[in-house]
Structures are given as C-alpha cells and as structure tokens.
C-alpha cells in the first residue's frame, strides 16, 4: 500500500535522476529564448489555443562547454497515437543551417511545458539521441510568473532503475551568454516604449540603463544585508555555506587596487579628456568660421557697389 502511494507521489518525478554532478557547462543566448517564445506565441495565435511546440537547438561545443546560439522549429507528426519528431524535416533543415552556420552543430532540442519531463519527452529525447550522443533538453514554461526565467535545462543519464537501464534526466545549470550586440538588442527591445517622447537626450538614455542595473545591484545587496541582520538577531538559522560565500565576496572588495591599475585607468581618463578637448576645439573652430562668414556677408552688403573684395579676404 505504502509503496503504491510512493509511486503516485513520484509519478511526476519518475524521470528525474537524483541530483548528480552534470557533465557539461551550458551557456545560453537570449536569442534562443526569444525564438522559442515567438514560436509558441505564433502557434497559439494561429490555432486559437496553446499547443506544445518542439524545436531543435544548435550551437557550438568545445570539450565540456556548450554554447547554445540559435534554434529552429521542428515538425511533430502523429505515428500510432504518439507525437514524434519528423526526422525527414530535421535532415532538410540541417542541410540548410549548415550552409549558413557552418560551424554550429545540433546540440539538443526544446519544448514547452509546465512540469519536469514526462513520458513523451523521453521518447523525443531518445530520437534526439540518434543525432547527437548526449543532447540537452530545454523546457520553457510559458505560464510562469515574473520572477525567474522559467527555463530549465536537462541532460540525460542512463541509470539502473528496478534492475533495468532507463533514461533519467538531470538538471543542468546554465548561464546567459554575454555578447555585446545581443545585450544592446535585448535592452532596446525590452525598454522600447520609453523613448516616444521625442526629446530624448543621449546621455539620459545611457545613464538610465546604468541606473537600472545599479538599482538591481542595490536590491540584491539590501537583501543580503537583511539576511545577515536576521541571522545576527537569531531570527534565521545560520547557513554556513551562504555565510562563507558572503565572506569571500566582501573580501574581494575593493576589486582592483594595484598602482598599475590606477596608472592605466588615469591614462584612459586622459585619453578621453584629450578627445573631448579636440572635439571642443573643432566645435569652436566651426563656430568661429561660421561667425566670420556671416560677418563678411554683412559687411559686404554694405559695400556692394564698391567691389572691395580683397579687403575682407
């Protein structure tokens, strides 16, 4: 009896392996996230209701580091009551993307859904395994709240469960890839409505971005401070791991203090000051030039009949 209850409880977690050490580090580009979101939104807008969507992830792999850079949609076909990925469609698309992104490979696949991976995910994952030995599964939850990114990455391991080798999923931690152009694009798209007022100052835009980032930093630091205060007042139990990390973090401040850094920093400041100086001189020269031209015109008007050009030249 008890074991039956256990099974029902674990039904949703049936395919999750106990927490282990993941074998790869993954960095994810925001472009992929936008791709998946658009795919899901588009299907929903056209069909009238939300459906599960499936697609492939491509990118670069060097050793144990994976960089997921792009993605494209895959076709699901119905075979004997199951929704399976259409292999022929995939091969056609693979040929296409190899022409444009020649150094990217198939790294895994994505799907949308609410929970941890289930039965159909396992089947699709096994299919993906035929293309790449150890593919990554990315699951996006389109109904999640606003706080954290509702994206989880899994990789598969084969474990012995009840004496049989079965495929289980292990969650993999990922970081967001940082490419400067991408960051600017994402920033622009995220805050696009704010600049409709017309009178936009360049400095204000630039500083607003910095201000928002600093605000986030401030909230995070405040949170840490409150945690430490609570621990000090014995409201919360001490978590030594967190305290150790905090200690090492504060010990890293100040970040750069060597005299060499100061010298380089001041050199950079001087360079910028020099450019500013040159810019102002150029502006001044231009103003002077305009002024002299206008002055000459005014004076020439007065002496029109006399043709004394050489005088003002």
């Amino acid at each position: 009896m008890a074991s039956e209850f256990m099974e029902i409880d674990d039904a949703s977690k049936k395919f999750m392996a106990p927490v282990g050490v993941p074998s790869v580090t993954v960095s994810l580009h925001p472009l992929v996230i936008m791709n998946i979101s658009e795919h899901w939104t588009r299907v929903r807008a056209q069909e009238g209701k939300a459906k599960q969507v499936v697609g492939a992830l491509i990118g670069k792999q060097t050793g144990r580091k994976l960089e997921i850079m792009n993605s494209f949609e895959l076709l699901l076909i119905k075979i004997d009551n199951d929704m399976i990925i259409d292999k022929a469609y995939y091969t056609a698309k693979e040929e296409q993307f190899k022409q444009v992104f020649c150094d990217m490979d198939f790294l895994g696949w994505y799907t949308t859904g609410v929970d941890t991976p289930n039965e159909s995910d396992i089947k699709n994952h096994k299919q993906a395994c035929t293309i790449n030995e150890s593919p990554i599964l990315l699951k996006l939850n389109p109904y999640a709240g606003h706080t954290d990114l509702p994206i989880t990455l899994y990789e598969s391991v084969t474990d012995l469960v009840n004496g049989e080798p079965t495929m289980l999923f292990v969650e993999v931690q990922y970081t967001l890839a940082t490419e400067e152009a991408e960051r600017i694009g994402v920033d622009h798209v995220a805050r696009m409505v704010s600049n409709e007022t017309g009178e936009s100052s360049l400095v204000a835009e630039h500083l607003t971005a910095q201000y928002n980032a600093i605000k986030m930093l401030h909230t995070r630091v405040k949170m840490i401070l409150e945690y430490v205060k609570a621990v000090q007042n014995k409201e919360l139990p001490k978590n030594h791991e967190i305290l150790r990390e905090l200690y090492s973090l504060t010990h890293r401040l100040p970040v750069m203090q060597s005299p060499k850094f100061n010298a380089e920093f001041y050199t950079q400041c001087n360079d910028v000051a020099l450019i500013t100086y040159l810019g102002s001189i150029t502006k001044c020269c231009n103003n002077m030039n305009q002024f002299v031209n206008k002055f000459n015109i005014l004076h020439d008007r007065q002496g029109l009949g006399r043709k004394v050009r050489g005088l003002f030249y």
Binding site: H29, P30, L31, I33, M34, S37, E38, T41, R42, R44, A45, Q46, G48, A50, E73, Y89, A92, Q96, V100, H146, T147, D148, L149, L176, E179, E180, A181, E182, R183, I184, G185, V186, D187, H188, V189, A190, M192, L202, E205, H206, A209, Q210, N212, A213, I214, M216, H251, L253, P254, V255, Q257, Q268, V272, I275, T276, L278, G279, T282, C285, N286
Partner: protein, 343 residues
C-alpha cells in the same frame, strides 16, 4: 450589483469549461490571415503611390536575429531575407533568416545565388506554421552607417519591380555597439525618374570619407520608413525575467575597450575630413547671395562627426567611472570587521 457579479461568474465558468483562451490584442499581430493578405496582394495599392508605405513594424525576435547575424559577420557584409505581411500603410516584419551569400556590396542581385536556399527555407517554414511570405531583405554595413549604396539602390529597384511589396533594411553592428543603441534603417526606393515632391533633409549621419560620394549620388533615390517594434506578451514576461540575470552584463560592459578599433578608425576619418575642409575654408569666396542654407560646408559636417565620437567616448568613460566608484572605493577594515565606504 449582484446580477453583474453573477453574470461575471457565469461567464468565467463558461470560459473555463470551454477552455477559451484570451489572446490579448497584443498577440493578434502574430496571426496570419491568408485571405486578407491575398486580397491585398491582388489590389496592389502601392502601384499608384511611390510613397505608399510610411512605416514598418519589426518584431523583437526579427531585430535580435538581424543584429546577431550582422555581428557574426564581423567586418564582412552579410545579408538575409525578411518574412512578414502588409497592413494598410504599414509593413510588418515577423521573422528573418540568413542567406549563405557573400560579397553583397559588389554585385546587383546577390540574392540570385541563394534562390534555391530561399525557396527551400520558405517551404519548410510553412510546414511548421510560419505562413508569411518574403517581404524584404536586409544586409549589414559594418562601421559605415545605415544608408543604401549605389548597388543597393539598383538591387532594391529591381526588387520593387518584380517582388512587390519589398523593403530594404540596413543594419550596422559596429555602430550599434559603439553607440550603445541599435543602428538600423528601413528604405524603399522611388521609381526611376520620380521626383519626390517635398524633400526634407534626413537626419544627418556620419559617413566615412571613402563612401561619401556613393552616399551623396544616390541619397535622393530612396526614402526611409519609420521603424517601430513590437513584442508578444510572453516576450515581455521573458524579457523582464531575463533582466534579473542580465543586469550584471550591463554593468560589466566596457565600451571603451570593445570599441577601440572602431574609435581609432573614426579619428583617422575625422582628421582626413578636417584636412579637406581646411582647403575649402581658405578658398571661401564672398558671393552676393549665399546659396541655399542646406548645403553645409565640410567643416560643420566634420564638427558633427567629432561631436558624435566625443559623446560616445564620454559615455564609455562614465561607465568606467561608475564601476570604479562602486567597486573600488570601499575598504575592508579587518580590525572592526566593517566595510567602510570612501568618498
């Protein structure tokens, strides 16, 4: 009062039972109405008016894809196709894809090389529910601004003869990074021989000396469309949550270091322009009535360029100073176990 809440409850329970989902109007744009599009294609309202399309809406995803693709090309021009639809006087770009083409600035209709790829891609896209058709092309001008070169104008005129409705988008990934904002332009050419009635001077752009002639000869043969962007509700949510992790990248970016190549190039360019303007200034001749005010002399243009570079450099330094103040001016006093902030 009671009756309205009753009907409210009734409506909600009906909706729940029938799993009616509200697609917010924001996401309506993602729906492709085939009949409506075909009607528009048959009617061809753009034939009579060369200035028919006034603005263009680009989806968040399309913008990001174009920026990433342009950036991945480095200093080489890249090109791709736009997929989308038409809505009144607005063109809508939903998606883009890259084309395996090289050397887009050296020949007209470089797209011809990729016809097979294009048709295959659009075919397979239709199978996964992407029903839009090609509505334009984009290419990058790394480092020299968003405008149409002579070759681009010829290509676009060809496109507008055979593939209407079609738009040309130009994106500059290098200036995007240096200025910190996306540098992009959308253009449509006028038919040959058409003289635009009211020519307003477009926003001034810094063009490097070696391209200035090409720009000047053709700048009156096309006009630019007003660009706005749109995103879906899910996009908005994801972007918000993305910010929770991404703010670190904003703080840690240092544009002075990423852009130093481009900056050096700009300074060389400005110095050459100043030399040229010097010769013009010394030849300034008094003439009775000065010609139209729109022709600015070279010195003013060089001044605008140097202003732009100076501003960008100052922004970079601002970011560095902020970081220095935040992270370097705190000291750890081990005897009192406190972090002391220095002014």
């Amino acid at each position: 009062m009671a009756s309205t809440s009753q009907s409210c409850i009734a409506q909600k329970s009906w909706e729940l039972n029938n799993s009616v989902e509200h697609i917010s109007s924001v996401d309506e744009i993602f729906k492709y109405d085939k009949k409506q599009q075909q009607d528009i294609l048959i009617a061809k309202p753009w034939d009579k008016d060369p200035h028919f399309f006034k603005d263009i809406k680009i989806s968040a995803l399309a913008l990001l894809k174009m920026v990433m693709h342009a950036r991945s090309g480095g200093n080489l021009e890249v090109m791709g196709l736009l997929l989308g639809k038409v809505d009144g006087n607005t063109m809508i770009v939903m998606e883009t894809f890259a084309l395996p083409v090289e050397g887009t600035e050296t020949r007209v209709n470089a797209q011809a090389q990729a016809y097979e790829y294009m048709t295959a891609y659009i075919e397979s896209a239709k199978q996964v529910g992407r029903l839009e058709n090609a509505i334009g092309w984009y290419h990058s001008h790394p480092g020299y601004g968003c405008w149409l070169s002579g070759i681009d104008v010829s290509t676009q005129m060809l496109n507008q003869n055979f593939q209407e409705p079609f738009v040309a988008i130009v994106i500059d990934p290098v200036r995007t990074i240096s200025a910190g904002k996306v540098c992009i332009g959308a253009f449509r050419t006028y038919p040959k021989g058409y003289k635009p009635p009211n020519e307003e001077p477009s926003e001034y752009q810094t063009i490097p000396l070696n391209k200035i002639e090409d720009f000047g000869v053709h700048c009156n043969q096309y006009y630019s469309l007003e660009i706005t962007y749109f995103k879906s509700a899910l996009d908005r949510k994801l972007l918000d949550s993305l910010w929770n992790k991404y703010w670190v990248n904003t703080l840690s970016s240092s544009s002075l270091i990423t852009n130093d190549d481009y900056l050096t190039g700009q300074i060389f360019d400005i110095s050459e322009k100043l030399e040229q303007s010097e010769s013009q200034v010394s030849r300034y001749v008094l003439s009775g009535d000065l010609h139209e005010k729109r022709v600015e002399d070279k010195l003013s243009k060089a001044t605008k360029d140097s202003n732009k570079t100076t501003i960008e450099v100052l922004h970079g330094l601002m970011a560095q100073t902020i970081k220095d103040k935040l992270f370097n001016n705190v000291f750890y006093k081990s005897d009192r176990c406190q972090l002391v902030a220095m002014d």
